[in-house]
Symmetry: C2
Subunit: 328 residues, 2 copies
């Protein structure tokens, strides 16, 4: 079913059918009705490829995330989706699983779709890629990586600050031996979190950090926690890179017959909904994902926000039941 076929049956030109489709220019209401009727009958649905090829513009924005299974990314995706739909845009999502190769492939693919904008909510990054993106005429938003430049806006979370808050809090509770549950330790922004935690050692005398990593998943969190809890002396607190891994760590603590927080304190990061439903509820650091989503929408669709800008998000400590005084 093509537009031309509709035009033929409605006894009008393709131009008129196109006008009806984009309900724009003036079309006599009787003609419009006739065309609409034919469309119904033929179950016509316009070829999106032809539309964006001919029209030049595109109502699609691309979103690339590192791990769609982590609610953190999903929440941002949903926030962007809400804003996009409100503005009449559609989203296309790609998932990289923290693989730089898949990121490159995803970006190339997205670019091929000639989207109205591109959001990369990823922790991995190819240096030359970001350079390359700057050349393209489409607006891009990076979360966590890259630097602002032409057509590129950056959103950055002050992990350093968030981790410092967490470290001070745990230190004040008497914790001196802390395990860090992470993933992909070599990736820049994720490395930053460990580093920030390590730096806290300088400020807090006697604080020691041990690191273990696993996948970014419940199971990965459990496995990393298993390594850490197996050491002797055992850490009295587990700082996890995000809430999902923290819930995995929580499970490992319990499986070992230990109690949270009496024996081992556990903290997350992100403050996803799950953090309020775990047992015990999770002490974590809130990152305003809806706000991040809104900024992305503004940059990519409003057209109001200039590029070459950087937004810094300040995370907030949220204390719940998974942390307590260090055991003596």
């Amino acid at each position: 079913m093509t537009l031309e076929e509709v035009a033929r049956r409605a006894r009008v030109s393709t131009a008129t059918v196109s006008r009806v489709l984009n309900n724009g220019a003036s079309v006599k209401s009787s003609t419009r009705a006739r065309v609409l009727k034919v469309m119904q009958e033929l179950k016509y649905s316009p070829n999106l490829h032809a539309q964006s090829l001919a029209g030049g513009r595109s109502r699609t924005i691309g979103v690339i995330v590192s791990n769609i299974e982590n609610p953190f990314f999903l929440d941002i995706y949903k926030a962007v989706e809400t804003g996009a739909h409100a503005a009449g845009y559609e989203l296309v999502m790609a998932n990289t699983d923290y693989s730089p190769e898949r990121l490159v492939a995803s970006i190339r693919l997205m670019l091929g779709r000639r989207p109205a904008g591109l959001a990369a909510i990823v922790s991995e990054m190819d240096a030359t890629l970001i350079q390359e993106l700057s050349g393209h005429p489409i607006p891009v938003v990076f979360y966590d990586v890259g630097t602002p430049r032409h057509n590129i806006t950056n959103i950055r979370v002050d992990y350093r600050s968030g981790m410092a808050k967490l470290a001070s809090y745990l230190y004040s509770l008497g914790h001196r031996r802390v395990g860090y549950v992470g993933h992909h330790a070599t990736l820049g922004p994720i490395h930053e979190r460990v580093q920030a935690l390590r730096d806290a050692t300088g400020k807090h005398a006697g604080l020691e950090i041990e690191v273990a990593t696993g996948d970014d998943s419940l199971e990965g969190g459990r496995q990393a926690a298993r390594v850490l809890l197996g050491r002797s002396p055992r850490p009295t607190a587990l700082v996890c890179v995000n809430d999902v891994m923290a819930v995995g760590a929580l499970r490992e603590v319990r499986t070992r017959g230990l109690r949270t927080p009496e024996d081992v304190s556990v903290t997350g990061f992100d403050n996803v909904t799950l953090a309020q439903f775990s047992v015990p509820t999770l002490t974590t650091v809130h990152i305003p994902r809806d706000q991040i989503g809104r900024v992305i929408c503004d940059c990519l669709m409003g057209g109001g926000v200039p590029s070459e800008q950087e937004f810094v998000v300040e995370p907030e400590l949220v204390v719940r039941d998974s942390t307590g005084s260090a055991p003596r």
Copy 2:
């Protein structure tokens, strides 16, 4: 950057560039190298819309799900993604939030992309829509709804059987007053689960079912559980439509100072990973999502599986720690 521009700079025709792009027909290796070099320099990425318009074919398959935030749907999505990537296809996802209107919009949009195939993993359904889809030349797979017909394959889970297993199990533990935590009770396949549970009443003397609903989310599960647990006499078991809502229910039970399973047993459905990380771990019914994903891939891409077919998935009871004997 267009193919034509590349052709000009490489001093060849657009046809040759196209050949290089689709690394098909014979191109002298020196020419190929020259073209490739120009592509690099120009950071050329082919316009996907032009490609699929000119080429007619498309390496994209569309996936529509009811609620991407529920790991059940996400797992199926991921399974399909794995199979698709292996076969050189890309996925485009749409999310309906259980809204029939959004389903219609999503399907129309997907059809506009002229995908190689379409998978609808949704619980809501518009009767006329399914009819309309049958007319289109693209293969479609429905999960949970619809009926097999030309170009349409169906995958169906035997909820009746799964619920019956659950009911018998709980009955054998002495439970007589059971609360059902659900969502969107009016939707066909979801209604089927309640109905199946109700039907079990006939087989098990004295079994009573009460129903409460909330969103398909952790919070929704908690709220529905709140309603149920507030009643008097209190149900001794909460049967939840899926694991996510069950984890929400678990939280509500605990918040009220009740114990699981000593005071209240809780069951889920789907057996997502989270079910093994909740406290206590969740008794649930396993649905083989990877298998479902594989069937979808076979139907949409292999071309081997004929349409007008129906696959029935048999769910399995998985007993964990959230269920126990009914309190006296």
